[in-house]
């Protein structure tokens, strides 16, 4: 799982605080424990020595009875050679052999901690000194329970844990503060980047301070400024070339109007031979040129964003019939036009869409071409399907591009090369969609979806 910066900082600060607290706690625990225990042992040893020094009652090898008396007097185990006696609260078995060996060997007071039945005890062993021989050969071992010390030691981890817990709160606050300090510029960058992505290239962020984040913000600002300049320049170039196309088209329109007006005379005159051929070609090409110029003007209107929609209630089925009739296609196109009720459409623009799609199907596909109407409460759908080989996979993404020719070998087709692009723009202007694909049985299929109502 990926955590946000805030969570990661929080975790990091908490970990640092806990591990520091734990290390400090552990170190102080060990020290405290040693201090407590050695203090207890020191006291015990001192008291034992004081007891022993008060009176040294022996100047000979003790009898067993004397050992017993010693053991009882000092509340200890008294050991002499192989004999021993136990006083109150301790038995010989309680004294580890190592301790006895050490005491006997080194002739010094020694302490050892032992555990009996889970309870901590300290054992202190000392040789009993006499006045004549220096040593009586008797060793005394006393035991003391370390329960109170044990309790004090046991309380140490608890207080260390409490300390860690208390330090967690300021650690969390610090983590959140640090996160906020980092996150505020990061968040500003994020929303700035989003605004740029949305096309607001004039986005600039306030860059205060001199840290790495401020550097990043300055870099971001420089980048958007650069981007804005480049995009503006590209737009200017694009705008100029579109403007040029629009101007050229308009300039061509006037002579074309004159030519169109007179070519009909060429068709009507009973010409023969070469003159008839030439007249026919002039007439045909003039019409094509006229259509091309009109399409260019139409598309530059879309590019300039001045194409307006003039919606009115339209029965789409009737419009399909009218479109086909106006172009003499009624006999070559099969239709399935259930009544779908009125939709808010621009009659002229939808006529252009239908004419371009059906015209395209008739030119590039094969007959029969079918036009099928479907509807839902929200939209009306027209499918124009031909019976040709269909669109190749590499072709269908490009069919709505201007002057796109699926077959490179055919340099000029019957259409202007703009028909499908214009159809696409017109559908888009309605807020609908136009898709190119293939029908299940083969054949190219263009699907127009138009919303019934203007939103």
């Amino acid at each position: 799982m990926r955590l946000g910066l805030r969570a990661r900082l929080l975790v990091a600060f908490t970990l640092v605080s806990v591990s520091t607290g734990a290390a400090v706690g552990a170190a102080s625990y060990l020290r405290e424990r040693d201090m407590v225990l050695s203090a207890a042992q020191d006291t015990m040893v001192e008291r034992f020595r004081a007891d022993l020094e008060r009176e040294v009652p022996l100047d000979h090898s003790p009898t067993h009875a004397e050992l017993v008396e010693l053991a009882w007097r000092y509340r200890a185990v008294a050991v002499f050679a192989n004999d021993h006696a136990s006083g109150n609260g301790i038995s010989f078995a309680d004294v580890p052999k190592e301790l006895r060996d050490q005491v006997r060997e080194r002739r010094r007071t020694l302490v050892q901690r032992v555990e009996v039945n889970g309870q901590p005890y300290a054992l202190v062993g000392a040789p009993l000194d006499g006045d004549v021989r220096g040593s009586t050969g008797v060793e005394l071992y006393r035991r003391q329970h370390l329960g109170a010390q044990q309790d004090a030691i046991a309380a140490l981890p608890r207080s260390a844990a409490l300390l860690v817990l208390l330090s967690l709160l300021p650690a969390a606050v610090l983590a959140l503060l640090a996160a906020r300090g980092v996150l505020r510029p990061v968040r500003a960058l994020r929303s700035g980047a989003r605004r740029v992505a949305d096309g607001h290239l004039d986005t600039r962020l306030p860059a205060g301070g001199s840290d790495e984040l401020a550097d990043l913000v300055r870099t971001f600002n420089a980048m958007t400024a650069e981007l804005e300049g480049t995009v503006a320049e590209l737009r200017r170039v694009d705008e100029r070339s579109r403007r040029f196309v629009a101007d050229v088209s308009h300039e061509l329109r006037t002579p074309l109007t004159a030519m169109t007006a007179v070519t009909e005379a060429l068709d009507d005159e009973a010409l023969t031979g070469d003159a008839a051929t030439a007249a026919g070609m002039v007439s045909t090409e003039t019409r094509k040129l006229g259509a091309l110029v009109e399409d260019l003007i139409e598309i530059s209107r879309f590019d300039a964003g001045v194409a307006g929609l003039r919606p009115e209630p339209v029965e789409l089925g009737a419009l399909v019939v009218a479109t086909l009739a106006a172009r003499g296609w009624t006999d070559v196109v099969r239709v399935d036009l259930p009544s779908v009720g009125p939709s808010e459409l621009d009659r002229r623009r939808v006529d252009v869409v239908l004419a371009n799609l059906v015209g395209n199907a008739l030119r590039h596909g094969a007959e029969p071409v079918t036009v099928v109407l479907r509807s839902s409460p929200d939209e009306v759908v027209v499918e124009v399907t031909d019976s040709g080989p269909g669109l190749a996979d590499e072709v269908s993404p490009h069919v709505f591009e201007r002057f796109y020719k699926a077959d490179a070998a055919r340099l000029r087709s019957e259409g202007s090369g703009l028909g499908l692009a214009i159809a696409w723009e017109n559908v888009r202007l309605h807020g609908g969609s136009l898709e190119a694909g293939n029908a299940p049985g083969g054949g190219a299929r263009f699907t127009v979806r138009l919303p019934r109502r203007r939103s």
Partner: protein, 222 residues
């Protein structure tokens, strides 16, 4: 007929084509020149390019309208909705988009001219203070003759033929303008507006030519 078009090539070519269709054509290169010819020669119909130097097509159209009931057909560029709307508001009867095929223009002109033809029926209809003489093709409002263009008159005749019945824009386009389904319904709307100005007491609250929202227009009921 009178052709007002500033571009010489287009003027000559359209004149040539219209003469071949059997029209008598006089031509003017500017709006001013055209208005003089309208006043002096009184053409049956004016074909008017909207893009004119000096007095523009819209103004020429308004002045022709003010002079009388000579029908005006505009020449516009395709898709220039601004031109179409402005021209119709200025009082044009119909429009064709350039470049126009001569036989299309000829059909439109003849359709406009047919609107001035008298009907065979001899009947006079009276609707309140509105008197429509279908034979003489005259309309009187409170005893005063109303000057209607042939298109306005034909629209009034079509609507008043079946009072109380809704006629769709498509039906009116077909019967008055002789356009097919793809015709421009704004022709109807603009003509209705002009007609109301002439026959209604209060054009904003019409009693004769009423709008039926989403369907079309209806004559009356009074």
């Amino acid at each position: 007929m009178l052709l007002i078009e500033d571009d010489q090539a287009v003027r000559n070519a359209l004149g040539f084509a219209l003469r071949r269709q059997g029209h008598q054509v006089s031509a003017a290169a500017t709006g001013e020149e055209g208005l003089v010819l309208v006043r002096e020669a009184v053409p049956d119909i004016v074909v008017l390019d909207l893009m004119l130097p000096g007095v523009d097509g819209f103004e020429v159209c308004r002045r022709v309208r003010a002079m009388g009931d000579v029908p005006v057909v505009m020449l516009t560029a395709r898709g220039d909705d601004f031109d179409v709307v402005g021209g119709l508001e200025a009082g044009a009867d119909d429009y064709v988009v350039k470049p126009v095929e001569p036989r299309v223009l000829d059909a439109r002109l003849r359709a406009v001219l047919r609107r001035s033809e008298r009907e065979g029926t001899r009947s006079t209809s009276v609707f309140g203070d509105l008197v429509i003489d279908r034979a003489a093709l005259t309309v009187h409002k409170a005893g005063v003759p109303v000057g209607l263009t042939p298109t306005e008159l034909r629209l009034l005749l079509e609507l008043s033929r079946s009072p109380g019945q809704v006629l769709t824009r498509e039906q009116l386009l077909k019967s008055v303008w002789e356009h097919d389904y793809l015709g421009d319904s704004r022709l109807v709307d603009a003509c209705v507006q002009r007609l109301r100005l002439k026959v209604e007491d209060v054009p904003s609250t019409p009693v004769f030519v009423r709008t039926v929202r989403g369907f079309g227009y209806r004559f009356g009921p009074l």
